[in-house]
Symmetry: C2
Subunit: 610 residues, 2 copies
């Protein structure tokens, strides 16, 4: 098995441009906004374990994970900006966690104030999920600050879990109900080097779908088996099933284990599952999970746009899985998928001002159907139309925070001889004795200059994006599995042609038949009602339409103007078909920016005439 | 208020052609097939009220309605063919009903063997619904045979209901949970002339949504209020809401009451509700009810094709409502809707051989999505793909039987001076001293000859079908609200041009955007996979496509051939848009005939290029 290391986010500084702007908002606005929302909703207060019946809140079973992800995100920001205010907030939270951690090492702000005898009894109650996020937070905080008390505390927690689940097996279940602990243990192992954390992670994976202790339905058709990826032992799984976030965290851990144990069976499962996702179960935005029921994958090619679930966390989790896959495969498709997620289905999850969030990221909205969806006989699931600052289940906002905070880690991997350049962002990075500088206006423009100072690497492998149909380079290269391999050089320049391209879906995707998605580079575009009027589905564009970029600094990439044909409105329900359409000017904006100007119609897949 | 009488099915004999063929199958095959299924499933046996715990069946709360609709259908056939076998089967059933009817007049094969103290306590348990169907059956059987013992028995039952619900009000609820009794009482009143039946019908209507006795949710948004049309007093209702069959039976009774009481408030409600249905909530097939949840109407313009519920009974019920509306309005749109239902969403409910039935009549089927809809995490509602001989809730098969049996009643209405010709079928009819003969190959051909012998009517008003864009007549006429008014004459000939026409839906119907339905005359066509291969949505037809009729005697109307363009199949999920399509021959068959050649893809709304 080939193996590559990522260059840590700590060693990659994004210096300017599209993502620097988003990271600045993340550091300055999102970090505060999420903190304030969590503070006002008692999530931090709960850590103090002073809750009593009758108080104006109740510590929820997964609040610790919210706080932990916030700390993790804050740690990434602290590492890059030295933000002392965030550090103080983290210290306050860590004080409470450490103070209330039990002697054995256990911490859970729900169980510590509710009924401790219920500890590790109910598999679906997210204790291991919370523990996993606390461990990740502790790792990140140590990396950011060098302060080790939180890390040590979470090592004690991990040791306790090791004893309860692996040595004495006194817990009422064998594996996590919501995965996260598995990948967190690998991260802890990587940081502190204690083999038992890796052993425990693998143990959790190996027992999944393979033990009699977990309350898994015996009925092979029962959805509950799939929701937690219990339908088969993990190395036998070949399709992405069930709750998307759980699934992707599982597959991430599987890729981690594949790498660290050189385990081909794990890798083969990961590769098959990945292929199933990207060739049959993923929206063009990189969103995954087509059903709100179980927040889950459904079946191949079932990708409805209006009722898409496509949770922000699931998009992030897909990128986290791909990040690990590019550590075991030198194939650009993983970075392509990361890019698809980054610029579309992930970024749509946060407002342009960084203060509010989507849980679901649909690909079509018609406010009319929302307006009549309350008092009718049969209400159907429709995602919200506008981002909000807090959810009851508010997993997405801090996930956005930590993912944007650690964005730099997606740019490079390397082995002894080769440096892989996966993503294009203005940045400075260093690895061993080599420094790497990228200068680019990507994704507004396709020109990228990579400067390398140092002679650690014999070759530089630059990803040629999957969407790219033409490019030029400053020097010769060899193309292999999506990467252009250059001999080491002080400077490599590439220019990716970035015309507007229409994309179509497989014929099996019913609802996209006859339609195309407008893209430019990695960006998927959409129409909004606020620009283009009502009934966006009555609009058709030519497959030969010519698009004019319109300067749109608020997006960091241009809006796109073109001419379309629009069906005239008529009263009645049915009438003889009329080919009569009027020419209308259309304005496409990046999908990630939808719903920043009030509730309005939105459409990604637009009708196309030949 | 203008008022018109229908010419009874007894006085209209369909003599040849499309509907004679269907009526023959109905009389010879369907009548037996449904009887045998009901007999084998103990529905007739249950009438004998000998059921004891431990037996291999359990009388269901609505089995009486199944049997009653079968008797009603059989009666129509007996009236037209003198079928002595069916009459004997009816007599046997009637024997049991009369034998077990209580002294007060009550009959219900469920409650008589279960717990009689529970009688009329639970509104949703269909007792009044069953009673209504028994009353209709008794009326029909008396009209067919002149034998009055069943009619008298059901008058006693109606008298009992009158006492329980109107005089003493000892029932636990005030109005029916599932409507039917209301229109049945009007029918009984029309037949026997006893005012109290009309009074009781109106009483049931007037109290609906207007009493404190019925267990109706107080929450204005609670679906249960809508499902039974309890959300408002009936004269204040303006939209079609809730369970479609209940709704349409209610509106039918409201139209009956409007006519018999000259009540403009009732008529106004009926007209508004009708407009809501046909301009916003009806499939092009005449199917109604877009959701399986509650078998219900949902919201304006929400008309998904694949998950359409569109129950056969609901289509029938819409026609029954329209039949009553054409007794109070001289507007052709009601007959247009009846025609739309007849040739499409109703007729699709029964197989060509008359033996099996659809409950739901979707407008799109992709077997692939059925094949993966069982073992996945999230199963969604999909109607069955093939008709079956019996359902657990087997309301549709006997409804088909009675509706086809009494088809003749849809053809004509009249007042003192004018005879209205609504539907076109080879037939002989008589009213007063006038006989009316229609000669036509409709709907295969648009030529209709109407011969009138007798001078009862000053004018003959012939419906010009809503789909008809050109026609010729043998003599002059005046067009008013969709009818061509001719001076009385011995013969009137009309030729309706019947080209293939493409229809489009309102822009607000999302899923039909960019698509057209292929129609010819009243017939909506569809593509089937068995003729046209996989991925029917990847096919596009030109709005100028030229269609060639293909002889198809099995359908009674031609199949339609044309050339289409088909998108080539590709692997993968997304790719750059290709305008490349291959020319393919297409074969459209009548929608009503879909699913008669095995489970296969089906599509009504086809993509159109200009």
């Amino acid at each position: 098995m080939k193996k590559y290391d990522s260059i840590s986010y700590k060693a990659v500084r994004i210096t300017d441009g599209f993502w620097k702007h988003r990271q600045d908002i993340n550091a300055e606005v999102t970090s505060r906004a999420v903190y304030n929302q969590f503070s006002n909703s008692h999530r931090f207060e709960a850590l103090d374990c002073n809750w009593k019946e009758g108080m104006n809140y109740r510590p929820h079973i997964f609040w610790d994970s919210d706080v932990a992800k916030w700390i993790e995100g804050a740690a990434y920001i602290i590492a890059q900006t030295g933000d002392t205010y965030l550090e103080q907030l983290c210290e306050n939270a860590i004080d409470m966690i450490i103070k209330n951690q039990t002697e054995e090492g256990y911490f859970n702000s729900h169980y510590l104030v509710m009924d401790q005898t219920e500890r590790f009894k109910i598999r679906d109650n997210h204790e291991l999920y919370c523990a996993g996020h606390l461990i990740e937070a502790a790792c990140a905080y140590y990396e950011a600050t060098g302060k080790d008390r939180f890390l040590k505390a979470m090592c004690r927690f991990a040791d306790y879990i090791y004893n309860v689940f692996y040595i004495y097996q006194t817990a009422s279940f064998a594996t996590s109900g919501h995965q996260e602990i598995e990948l967190a243990l690998v991260r802890l192992y990587d940081l502190v080097g204690d083999e038992k954390y890796l052993t425990l992670s693998r143990y959790f994976l190996d027992r999944r779908g393979n033990n009699t202790k977990d309350p898994v339905s015996k009925d092979a058709k029962d959805a509950s088996r799939y929701l937690r990826q219990d339908h088969l032992p993990v190395t036998m799984q070949r399709t992405a099933e069930g709750h998307c976030v759980r699934a992707m965290y599982l597959y991430s851990a599987m890729a981690d284990i594949a790498k660290r144990y050189d385990d081909e069976a794990y890798l083969e499962a990961c590769q098959a599952i990945y292929q199933n996702v990207v060739t049959k179960r993923m929206y063009i935005t990189g969103g995954i999970g087509s059903s709100n029921l179980g927040e889950a994958f459904t079946t191949d090619y079932f990708l409805p746009n209006e009722t898409a679930y496509t949770e922000t966390c699931a998009a992030i989790a897909l990128a986290l899985f791909c990040k690990r896959m590019q550590q075991v495969c030198a194939d650009s498709e993983f970075a392509d998928t990361i890019e698809r997620v980054l610029y579309n289905g992930f970024l749509s999850g946060v407002s342009l001002d960084g203060k509010s969030f989507f849980y679901s990221n649909p690909l079509e909205i018609d406010p009319y159907f929302y307006s009549v969806n309350t008092s009718s006989t049969t209400k159907r699931y429709l995602p919200i139309m506008q981002r909000v600052e807090l959810f009851g289940c508010s997993c997405c906002p801090p996930n956005v925070l930590r993912f944007l905070g650690s964005l730099g880690e997606l740019l490079y991997t390397h082995d002894e001889h080769t440096l892989f350049v996966h993503q294009f962002m203005n940045s400075e990075a260093s690895v061993r004795d080599t420094s790497i500088t990228q200068t680019t206006a990507y994704p507004a423009d396709g020109a990228v200059t990579i400067r390398i100072a140092g002679d650690d690497f014999k070759q530089i492998a630059v990803r040629i994006p999957g969407w790219c149909t033409g490019f030029t380079t400053s020097q010769p290269y060899q193309l292999e599995r999506g990467y252009a391999y250059f001999d080491a050089a002080a400077e490599i320049r590439l220019v990716f042609d970035m015309p507007v391209q229409l994309y179509e879906a497989n014929n099996a995707v019913q609802n996209n038949a006859g339609c195309a998605a407008v893209t430019r580079g990695p960006i998927v575009y959409c129409l909004e009602g606020v620009d283009n009027g009502a009934h966006l589905r009555s609009i058709r564009i030519s497959s030969q339409a010519s698009f004019t970029p319109e300067d749109a600094p608020e997006y960091g990439v241009p809006a796109l103007l073109c001419e379309g044909l629009r069906k005239k409105e008529h009263d009645g329900l049915y009438r003889p078909y009329s080919a009569d359409r009027e020419k209308v000017p259309l304005r496409f904006i990046p999908y990630f920016a939808f719903a920043n100007r009030g509730a309005t119609e939105m459409l990604v897949w637009v009708s196309v005439s030949e």
